[in-house]
Symmetry: C2
Subunit: 498 residues, 2 copies
């Protein structure tokens, strides 16, 4: 089976979708070869990648793999040569896409998979002129591609079923949620639903029933919040209450006969109507640029994904699984093998999120312990505490922490945590973290922690297993020659003892 | 102007919407008089209230007002008598609603406002037979009413404009986001959009293009995540990229002419089709009961609202404002005035959220500091540190914390924090928190903290302002006679000094 790790992926078209694919692939450690004749394409893709990195930095402290390399190619031929997967992201025009797919096939390996990001054109039409049509499928993602997990997979009449399975596995390895369509249909699933909303919205603006802002508010303050969790069917099942779905249909079935939506007709896109939409949209966006709007959207999506991860539901479950995989990859690859163990270790880095600040505009105190906790986890991972170790019934708990707050970290600043092993025995680790500004080196806080190794089933402390014990003892003996921080072992007291 | 605080609100109908209104009102400290002839209505409303309390407990640590009292009334007359506001939540049937509104008017005060929760019937039709039609408006909420902020306000031909303004102010005081419609239209705004999705979804299931689960997944893993943040117009503006809304319309305008949605016709709701929907819906829900599904939905919405609060956007901004108001009300009302100050104070309670647990299934260490931080805030609020104090340029920062983890709190268990003032001077507070299981009294953790009073502008420590200082000193002298916890002032060290 194909693996994306084997070779580069070609992305044809560097717009919002092509750039989004490139960002997701690169952040997953995959090399990307992109072709787009637009003179601004390079800048736009790099800006989108910067947005994606910013979002992922704040989404997770899980260790991302080394970023893939990004090449801009002057031709389709150059981009697809040697690529294991080719993603087509050109404008929604059947003839154009067919022409591009023919060019792709001229230089692509005959077994390279080809995905089209089309929002709604039929794969049977796209593949009708291809030499190897069996490896073409629709792979329809959603903007921003680097954050939203959904990708609709749809094969045409000539697509091989194995290709659909292969593609599903590839996208899962990118932290996505492939949805295989049972039948080929214009607009697939999500865009048919979105198009229905869109037609209705255009009528309501056209008829001056509401402004574009009213319509957006009617979604985002109400039913839109639910759609991050559930689709219409589960939502209505719940709305039906204890009597279930049939009861709901009986209650709201009649409304389907009432004039609650417009006909399928769309208002004519006259200049006057387009002006109305454009000017209302300008008013709604206020002074916010597209880049700023993208960042607001991404910050919101990050918060939603993190929230849903906490409840392990929907997109949050997809992200949770991906994060777990990232930690496992990290431990397996021992990325830190070239660390200088005679010095305090830098195993955890990050940046202070705006959402971490309290009413004083400073980093909330519990976030300091969160950062130190993450640094402790990084140390434990480094020492060999992996999923297998946990599954074998042992773990390490923090039994005591002493935090000293020394300086204020401003939102947005990068930090590093330096970790020193102060002491330990066969059951305990006594550790010292320093949280520093990465640029200035100023010390924000220190954390002193006592960790205890436990038998999780018996719920009591016990000697570490040999692997963890020997690595800990090795580090301890190296760190014994380091200067002991003056504040280590201090207790909390008023200066005058009042 | 009317104020909901002045008197009870009558809710006519105790289904999903009526029960949801009752829950939101009660949690906002407002008395509710509910009428519903259904024999199970009482149990259902109480279950919904329990769900709402559970969600709010986890949504915020802000101090909620004392809950309003809930009465079940045997008749409409009994429910509406003396009520300042009456919310009608009966089935979607114009004649029924008109009959009920006539009954309401028989016994309601002539200036009581009357809102109808109808999903789409016209207020002009609802009010056509009323004696005082000027005080009738549509107040259309979204399920769950106790969490979603949106309420669509729509007046009829005879509704007074002042009534719309009054209602908007009332709903804002409940933490909601009223959206006043410019024109009266069937289905208002949100339900027209939802109905469009729903019609399309029914066709896709009817034609076996997709299952109900496929359609729900096509939303919740992709575009649905965005709808918690933004509506179609802003989303498409962003998708249009740098070229803006007109470019987007030019690019995707043609798709409006393609067969990407079905006609407005709906599939006939035959028994066979209803069976298909009901059985696919059963399969999708698996073993989850409606109550369990509601809790999953609520936990997700809580996480989303908290996430959006962090980025201060959309529904998160509404919630942030409400939470700020709750803290202000709390400080103004000095709810704790009858505390015994000669004992450690219980100023913070809560329960261990499932989302607080780590990979060991135990409460994540940073959550302990979060709980202690909340308890510290509660103490500072109790001592007089309110918004006015903060706005005057002074605050109190934690400079040192020492946490001891003694026992594991299981997810779901209730906790209390007992707080003792160990010492202090005119700039410092030395405090001791104990986090205990509320039922068993077992001690999960202790927190010892040094707090420093600061001039936030000068960014240096300074003497407390008189109000805070005198209250602190008073509490300190009372707590001086308490036994000092043995572990106070301890430092962290290995037992053998290794």
């Amino acid at each position: 089976m194909h693996s994306l790790k084997q070779g580069p992926v070609a992305v044809i078209g560097g717009g919002v979708i092509g750039g989004g694919w490139a960002a997701r692939l690169l952040l997953n450690g995959i090399d990307v070869r992109i072709h787009d004749p637009h003179p601004e394409a390079g800048r736009r893709v790099r800006e989108m990648l910067a947005n994606a990195e910013r979002a992922w930095e704040s989404l997770t402290s899980a260790p991302l793999p080394a970023k893939g390399s990004l090449s801009f190619c002057g031709s389709i031929a150059e981009a697809v040569e040697g690529s294991v997967f080719i993603e087509e992201c050109t404008p929604e025009n059947l003839e154009l896409k067919q022409r591009i797919l023919a060019e792709v096939e001229n230089d692509a390996a005959s077994d390279a998979l080809i995905g089209s990001s089309t929002s709604g054109l039929l794969p049977s039409d796209l593949q009708s002129e291809m030499k190897h049509p069996e490896r073409l499928l629709v792979t329809h993602p959603f903007n921003p591609v680097y954050l939203l997990p959904l990708v609709e997979l749809c094969g045409g009449r000539l697509t091989s079923p194995e290709v659909l399975d292969q593609a599903a596995a590839l996208f899962e390895s990118l932290g996505m949620r492939p949805l295989k369509l049972k039948k080929e249909i214009d607009g697939f699933l999500a865009d048919r639903l979105l198009e229905a909303i869109w037609r209705e919205s255009l009528w309501l603006v056209h008829d001056d029933v509401a402004s574009v802002e009213d319509l957006d508010d009617a979604f985002r303050f109400g039913p839109g919040l639910r759609f991050a969790l559930m689709g219409s069917f589960l939502i209505y099942r719940i709305a039906g209450g204890e009597e279930g779905m049939r009861h709901f249909m009986a209650q709201f079935g009649p409304a389907l006969k009432w004039p609650w939506t417009k006909l399928m007709d769309v208002p004519e896109l006259t200049d006057t109507f387009l002006d109305k939409i454009a000017s209302q949209s300008d008013e709604q966006a206020g002074n916010l640029s597209i880049r700023e709007l993208e960042q607001i959207r991404d910050d919101g999506l990050v918060a939603i994904l993190q929230g849903l991860k906490g409840v392990d539901w929907g997109a949050g479950s997809v992200f949770r699984k991906q994060e777990k995989q990232l930690f496992e990859n990290f431990h397996q690859n021992a990325v830190h093998k070239d660390l200088d163990e005679t010095q305090p270790l830098v195993l955890h880095r990050g940046w202070i999120r705006p959402s971490w600040t309290d009413y004083n505009g400073h980093m909330t105190e519990s976030r300091y312990l969160q950062v130190f906790g993450d640094a402790t986890d990084a140390l434990l991972g480094y020492l060999g505490l992996d999923q297998e170790y946990l599954d074998s019934g042992f773990s390490v708990f923090t039994v005591e922490s002493h935090i000293r707050h020394l300086d204020e970290g401003a939102p947005g600043s990068n930090f590093v945590v330096k970790t020193q092993l102060l002491g330990g025995d066969e059951k305990r680790l006594h550790i010292w973290h320093e949280l520093l500004d990465q640029e200035s080196g100023s010390l924000f806080a220190t954390g002193e922690h006592m960790l205890l190794h436990v038998d999780t089933l018996a719920a009591k402390s016990c000697t570490m297993q040999s692997r963890l014990l020997s690595k800990s003892q090795q580090l301890r003996s190296l760190h014994q020659s380091l200067k002991r921080p003056e504040a280590a072992g201090r207790s909390i007291a008023l200066p005058s003892g009042n």
